[in-house]
Symmetry: C2
Subunit: 341 residues, 2 copies
């Protein structure tokens, strides 16, 4: 065995899932109390009962995006939003504390570090969250490219929403347009000259999730943060874990003209690239229209839409209904290009 | 201003403290409930009241050690021990959950990754802790050197021990020999051929801390994990925060012959290099002997010793009593060589 790690192993699709399952999860002792969501669940975070009907939810992510400043955001905004959003889609919309561990390359500019720091703070303020502890490491030139941020978040909630609760008949709701973050970063990296209106959607969405949970909590059967690998990865995983099929209505998918154009230029499907300010939500059919209306009341949910339906047929499969026929959407092997988040 | 980050900014001493204070802490909104230990405290972790007289303690560290396998341990054992120990010296000896975020260089060996993973699991078992969630990123060749692990830990405790509680008259206790981790890694890196008995002390010490807290809790006034920058950095920080002077008794410092020899060969003081299985504890004078006796009952505390005394004179100063006279020990600018932990 002389297997080596490849870029796709960090890219959010099937290859990464295999690495995680084979190396990190398989045979891992659980050791958690009953009712926990642990490592093997591979959800957006973990949840552990702490008594009084409450759970501690915890999530971690390292952020390696390149370039670190991009249209619509930067690595600091990405780190806070990614962490707060992972907590929120687990049902924990009020972050108790965030940590931020910084790894810097020797020679990194102090002024850029201050710019990243200002963005971390501004996004924390927007998300009503605080960084309470941190760590700083420096690696040599050529041992690290620029800056990497790891953020971990904890929150306490009295209801956990998992990514595996879809049921036949449920509707799939997305909270806004798809593919904006991935396409904006890729277009910047390739200097496509499309940056005018092509901007990352990176934003903390906890307040929007809190709004919809407060009004429709019992009708929300599953939630997930569609980051690396995009909607296709997130929904494939939700369908597989839930044991349902999902049929997506292509005409209903909210995708901006700019993202569509960039996707065509780059030959990349907007459904397989990262979103950083969106949630995918499973909703009981009878309440789906009301959920969309509630989401649209929030500034970040103006483009919310019902985009699909869960079926009992073909469990685990994601199918796209193009209007002319149906085709299977396979879970991508990984995000098409590395270091998207 | 064209200042740039240097290696010393990640090395645990004065330079790092300046970076953290100037960029990460200054002006940061606290936003935490009264009774919290937040970012500005720059303690081993943060502590936040969660009701019922309990605190949530949280700590984070990125591990960038090179080489990743060294006598006495490896990056996996280091990550778990470092995190569990930071929680323990805050008074939280029973970890509720750990996260582990892995960043890999493209081409990293799958077999080595499995070896690191086995070590993570074995150390978790030893520490009665579980990794409950994680993250995997891959960076390109030359964008990252090998593997970096970030671990974050959370625990719930009903008493927080800070690093700032030293009072004049308190004794300083260390739980064992000093400088083992730093010297073992440096000797390996320099191929000194001293590796026979020169081994890192890396170990989770939460069970030892729980033992001493259970018997002597009220007499323990401060605790700290003397990692980067060694005992000199940890004690300087404790003295400054507590507003006391500390006089160290050189003859009482437990240092192995191997560490002493390596220190002489490398021209490096064992007091300024990292420990990864030790605690520095402030103890009320009348109970100091009993605390040492209790520590020695534990397999990891056999070499525990009283090494110094706190004074009201020269607040913030660390002084070494050599037996022939006294000299000021200045807080090191940083660990003498990078990537020690």
């Amino acid at each position: 065995m002389n297997e080596r790690v490849m870029m796709k192993h960090g890219a959010g699709g099937r290859a990464m899932r295999r690495l995680v399952e084979e190396v990190f999860v398989r045979g891992a002792p659980d050791g958690l109390p009953a009712g926990s969501v642990g490592l093997a669940a591979m959800d957006d975070g973990a949840a552990i009962p702490i008594g009084d009907g409450r759970w501690l939810v915890i999530t971690t992510d390292s952020h390696v995006v390149s370039p670190i400043f991009f249209p619509g955001g930067d690595i600091g905004r990405l780190a806070i939003s990614g962490t707060v959003n992972d907590l929120a889609v687990m049902g924990a919309t009020s972050a108790l504390a965030l940590t931020c561990a910084v790894i810097l390359e020797e020679g990194f500019s102090w002024a850029e570090l201050e710019r990243v720091q200002a963005s971390l703070r501004a996004t924390c303020k927007e998300a009503s969250a605080s960084i309470v502890t941190g760590d700083t490491k420096v690696m040599g030139r050529g041992e690290m490219d620029g800056i990497v941020l790891n953020t971990t978040g904890v929150a306490i909630t009295d209801r956990v929403v998992r990514d595996s609760g879809l049921r036949p008949g449920d509707r799939i709701v997305v909270t806004g347009t798809l593919g904006d973050h991935g396409m904006a970063v890729l277009a910047t990296r390739h200097a496509l000259g499309l940056q005018g209106n092509l901007r990352s959607d990176v934003a903390p969405i906890a307040s929007m999730i809190a709004h919809v949970l407060s009004r429709h909590g019992p009708a929300l059967t599953a939630m997930k943060d569609p980051t690396r690998g995009g909607l296709a990865s997130a929904l494939s995983e939700m369908a597989q874990k839930s044991g349902v099929g999902v049929v997506l209505d292509q005409a209903a998918l909210p995708i901006t003209d700019e993202v569509r154009a960039a996707g065509e230029l780059l030959g990349i499907d907007p459904l397989v690239v990262a979103n950083e300010g969106k949630a995918v939500i499973g909703v009981r059919a009878e309440e789906a229209d009301a959920v969309v209306a509630t989401l649209r009341e929030h500034p970040l949910g103006k483009k919310a839409a019902i985009v699909g339906t869960c079926t009992g047929a073909r469990p685990g499969a994601l199918v796209l209904d193009t209007g002319f026929g149906r085709r299977r959407v396979t879970e991508p092997e990984g995000e098409p290009l590395p270091r998207i988040c």
